[in-house]
Symmetry: C2
Subunit: 364 residues, 2 copies
């Protein structure tokens, strides 16, 4: 493919903080952004040259959007695959519908990971309460976790099952959606890899990131993760294999559980995000190329940028809900890189911003 | 003063690349930007939540702009002082009209620098050809440089005088504008200081930057400058004194000539820019806080950010006119930070973008 020249317009489907940070990275490289999102107060609109407020299913608006942009991407994996397929009839959409369809379904994700030789939790598709009871009555074992196959995020659409009496309630929480039962993984840490594949098939990955969650929402990421070099290499190898299988173009994240047995770490693929990822926000201030610029480079057919760190280590803390009210303290902290997403309303659990800090030592 | 909370709107007068980079820095902190500029295709519009296309003299539009923003600043020192005075009747404008008026006039700038004990070239106001001839006939000496007092930039409005026969032509180049005759300074290097003064009077400065010009336009900046620590301290002391005298709030630059005599460097104040400055663009990728965020912090009444470098040294190369056509090479260079200003038309001498590079060693 031919690299899109500066001055071209990148269409971004989805208008949240990821779209906002993508639009800023695009502007730095001389691109215009056109954001497509259903919410009239989308944070990304404030930094984009153009925007469309319309439903993801509005084909007239999608057609006009496709006409207005030179290439399209998305910042949100819960947009309908049909939206991407529709746009792709008119223009290149990166990553494509195939990657989106895979990443939208936990069953597909885990099946693919296993096919490529990666470890995952034991899993089994379940579509009815009877099937769930049957699977549990046989040899699946507890504790296990029941999850909707689609549209889950930040712990939503999940229920733990410790024993047979939990089954009905867990199933009820799925609201009859096609689901997946997963064995509970007893992990010592959670890590993720932020990687990128270019339109020419080039591949690059950042240092593996270690993640801490609170109430199922990412709280803190720190890079490089405290794992052995060969384990980090495995994370990258798996990420690359997945990207190649999906003809992936752009930045993506793979989340892993780190399982320790006899002092040896093994990585279990947990899930894939076909987009820039919260656990990669540290790259804005801590890496030679941010994940946002990296994604724009891939989408525009540019060479990938350097993924090197600018410091021995980097930390990111999410500002969730009322955390954002501490902004005067963060603003006054020397060396704290403050990011506010411009969202008007504070709600519990809502991602309002984040703060990055460079570390003078590699995390130990 | 009370710090403006994220969500507030920063008004920026002027819509060029400086306004564009200010708007991006503001967005990062959760601010909205409203750009006011006369040119319909201003690069800053593409990253701002709102914009007004109107003349700097249009008081109805200025009044509406003042109503729409919480504080105002400017990115361009050749806006009329009257524009700032008009806005200041309704809202805080930082920096204020006093600083702008001083920086717009080379005579005022140099007079102030001398008052504060800094060195400058010898200078003399001249308003007519007869006066110019008279001054030169007495003891002023050649070579000297005739400059318009106002509205000069990138070498425009300047003429060198080597001997009496140059006088008429030099004066003609001034087009009868009030001018200043300056003795030619035989400098070994040009340096600048990018400094910031907060709304509370706090002061911070980045490492002194060494600048190379080509055809009177900045070509390359590198920090830290290769000057002795006490000389660098002098640059900062002078900058601080000037800022305090002008009740300055925001980022500004002072350009100095480095004059070497008997192996001792002395700094001569050349000029002041009451705004973020091209020789500070390296701070975007190379400093803990960019000059753009630093300016927004000051304007919004926030604490100043850290001015520390992220590397042993940083270099910036301007991309002027056709230089921008090399973007594919820059995009492919590992570790090159590419900035494109989104300008549609390439013209000789036009600043189209820049590239930053981190250095592993301090410049020697």
């Amino acid at each position: 493919m031919i690299a899109l020249p500066p001055g071209s317009t990148i269409g971004i489907v989805g208008g949240g903080q990821l779209g906002r940070m993508l639009a800023m990275a695009a502007a730095r490289l001389g691109f215009k952004s056109h954001i497509y999102a259903p919410e009239a107060d989308s944070p990304a609109f404030e930094v984009a040259a153009a925007h469309t407020v319309a439903a993801y299913e509005d084909e007239a608006q999608l057609a006009a959007f496709a006409k207005a942009v030179d290439v399209a991407t998305y910042e949100f994996e819960n947009i309908p695959v049909r939206t991407v397929e529709f746009l792709a009839q008119q223009i290149a959409v990166r990553p494509g519908a195939k990657a989106l369809a895979c990443a939208q379904d936990r069953l597909n994700e885990k099946t693919l990971a296993r096919e490529l030789g990666a470890m995952t939790a034991k899993f089994q598709a379940v579509d009815t309460l009877a099937q769930l009871e049957d699977v549990l009555a046989r040899d699946f074992g507890v504790p296990s976790v029941l999850k909707t196959r689609r549209f889950g995020y930040d712990g939503k659409g999940q229920a733990k099952i410790f024993n047979a009496t939990d089954t009905k309630q867990a199933w009820a929480a799925m609201r009859d959606a096609p689901s997946i039962l997963e064995s509970f993984v007893n992990f010592r840490a959670e890590v993720s890899i932020i990687a990128v594949r270019g339109a020419d098939g080039a591949f690059a990955a950042y240092d593996v990131t270690e993640n801490e969650h609170r109430d199922h929402i990412l709280h803190r990421s720190v890079a490089p993760a405290r794992i052995a070099p060969d384990v980090a290499d495995n994370a990258i190898t798996t990420a690359r294999a997945i990207a190649e299988r999906l003809d992936y173009v752009g930045v993506f994240a793979i989340e892993y559980f780190v399982v320790s047995e006899n002092d040896r770490d093994t990585l279990f693929v947990n899930e894939m995000a076909p987009r820039v990822h919260n656990s990669g926000h540290w790259t804005i201030d801590g890496a030679m190329t941010s994940q946002f610029e990296q994604h724009i480079r891939a989408v525009a057919g540019w060479p990938l940028g350097s993924t090197e760190l600018k410091a021995a280590g980097v930390e990111m803390i999410n500002l969730i809900g009322n955390d954002i009210l501490t902004w005067p303290d963060i603003a006054a902290e020397p060396g704290a890189f403050f990011h506010h997403y411009g969202k008007k309303t504070v709600r519990p659990g809502r991602k309002m911003g984040h703060v990055n800090r460079l570390l003078t030592k590699r995390p130990e």
